[in-house]
């Protein structure tokens, strides 16, 4: 078991107010790490720290370190970091352009795919990966905003796959979706872990139990417990964890 991401003594602050306290956690290569916890427990902050999406927020600051493959993420050029660590948001947000352009936007800009034929192939392969190809192959030039919510979220996943990341961060990717779309995305995530390392933040405890290999439980900015998903859900060590997964609060 190789650690893809190591988090050491991480504390995060907005306006000096601590929202994530002294976190130590590893993400193992090719696993799905589920992160559960009630609202405002710092899950999103945790994710956004991993690919430095919080850098633009002037009120944000952090202590401690995060390592990606043993490199401190502060030493990695921030655009490269975000290419290596892709992110998906709760609200699927296709860019205001066609389906095709949504996928090719980043690879073209980064310059690692330029030829038309390669772009076409890449679009087809990532769309097949998210099983969207058959649904949209006839309307690749249509604005992506016209797709359904579940399709948009899968397009956003395809868009991330197109930049060939090593880690993918999901922030409550199914919170706005119907059960069928949710099932599709869960299936997709399980398939993706062969090639990628995944961190899945979810407000849906059942989803974590279905999908993740290990699960971490956050509460009010603290990591309460992290363990193999089977163990955590069957015999949690901490009382808070048990209360949360049995639905007694949160």
């Amino acid at each position: 078991m190789v650690d893809k991401i190591k988090i050491e003594n991480l504390s995060c602050y907005y306006n000096k107010k601590c929202v994530l306290e002294f976190l130590n956690l590893n993400v193992v290569k090719n696993e799905i790490l589920g992160v559960i916890g009630p609202a405002n427990s710092g899950k999103t902050t945790f994710l956004r720290t991993l690919n430095r999406m919080n850098d633009f927020d002037a009120t944000y600051s952090k202590k401690g370190s995060v390592y990606l493959d043993d490199d401190d993420i502060l030493d990695i050029d921030v655009e490269t970091l975000r290419r290596r660590v892709g992110m998906l948001f709760a609200m699927p947000i296709p860019l205001p352009m066609s389906i095709y352009d949504n996928i090719t936007y980043a690879p073209k800009r980064l310059g690692f795919v330029t030829k038309k034929i390669d772009l076409d192939n890449m679009v087809e392969s990532v769309l097949r990966n998210v099983s969207l190809w058959d649904e949209v192959k006839d309307r690749l030039c249509v604005s992506a905003v016209k797709m359904s919510g579940g399709q948009q979220q899968r397009l956003c996943i395809a868009r991330v796959l197109a930049i060939n990341p090593e880690v993918i961060l999901f922030d409550e990717p199914c919170s706005g979706l119907d059960p069928i779309s949710t099932a599709k995305i869960e299936e997709l995530m399980i398939g993706l872990k062969e090639k990628y390392t995944i961190v899945l933040v979810t407000n849906n405890v059942k989803q974590a139990s279905r999908v993740s290999d290990r699960t971490a439980f956050f509460l009010m900015g603290k990591l309460i417990e992290v363990d193999k998903t089977g163990k955590l859900f069957v015999s949690p060590k901490k009382k808070e964890t048990e209360d949360y997964i049995t639905g007694r609060f949160g």
Binding site: E79, F89, I93, L95, P96, R109
Partner: protein
């Protein structure tokens, strides 16, 4: 009781709406009436294509071409200056500076819009005109170029405020999505934010052009008012608006000269109407997507 109040309110709103429509229709039909009675005596083609504007000589000639060219010169000059500066200022204010500077800058720009155009013209006459004269070594500083600069100054607030609104109404998620895909801040600005805000920005530019086209006081004071077709922007020109304002007082109500000014007004109205129409097209498109 409530019903009666409702009814009264409804009627008042209805009347206000009708009144403003009636005003527009009245103004337009008045312009049309005077304009057409002018065209009956002096052909449209001779009017639009004529090179000479001698409205009060014995063999009067009403060639409006020099005035149209004058307006176009000044407008193009003003836009060349105002559009890049205005759009970049809008980008700067909405995306680059920290919040407290943004508020200061915005109020400054709004203040700029509040300066009366006579004051702008007056300041331009005493500062800019001599400067242009000495820098370019011209016989006079009262040129289309000076007029362009002053008009740009007046169009910039319009362009900045409306573009800024458009840029800031681009959903935050677009920016976040692009950044998360590894785009730099600059690439996100240019490829995503500018692109998404483009309809609004174009509408802002159109409204800015409309403002420049219709401006009278400042151009009258600064452009030199020579009604001839200029060869460069460093020559005096006269615009359509300035002509109407300057000559209205010398005409006799009902004579050809008087009517010719209405004909100019009609041309001006059509041009600004056309510009507003294009702006509406873009604004409408913005709402649909």
């Amino acid at each position: 009781m409530k019903k009666v109040l409702n009814l009264i309110a409804e009627k008042i709103i209805f009347i206000c709406g009708i009144v403003s429509i009636i005003f527009v229709v009245l103004i337009f039909s008045f312009l049309l009436k005077e304009g057409f009675s002018f065209f009956k005596h002096f052909g449209v083609l001779k009017f639009i294509g004529g090179h000479f504007w001698y409205p009060s000589s014995d063999s009067a000639s009403f060639g409006v071409l020099p005035l149209i060219v004058g307006s176009v010169f000044v407008t193009i000059g003003a836009c060349t200056i105002a559009v890049p500066i205005g759009v970049m200022t809008a980008l700067f204010i909405s995306e680059i500076v920290p919040k407290y500077i943004r508020d200061i800058l915005k109020s400054l720009v709004e203040l700029m819009a509040a300066i009366p155009s006579v004051v702008v013209g007056f300041i331009g006459m005493t500062t800019l005109v001599p400067l242009v004269k000495s820098i370019f070594n011209l016989p006079t500083g009262l040129t289309a170029f000076s007029g362009s600069i002053m008009l740009a100054f007046m169009a910039i607030p319009t362009i900045v405020t409306i573009s800024e609104d458009a840029i800031r109404s681009v959903p935050y998620q677009y920016k976040q999505g692009a950044l998360a895909l590894g785009a730099t801040k600059w690439q996100t600005l240019r490829r995503i934010i500018l692109k998404a805000a483009m309809p609004g920005i174009i509408a802002a530019i159109m409204l800015g052009i409309g403002r420049v086209m219709g401006e009278t006081m400042a151009v009258m004071m600064i452009t030199g008012n020579a009604a001839h077709i200029p060869h460069s922007i460093f020559e005096p020109v006269r615009t359509m608006t300035a002509t109407i304002a300057a000559e209205m007082g010398e005409t006799v109500k009902g004579d050809m000269h008087y009517k010719s000014l209405f004909a100019i007004g009609l041309v001006l109205f059509l041009i600004t109407f056309f510009i507003n129409f294009i702006a509406d097209l873009f604004l409408g498109k913005n709402k649909n997507t």
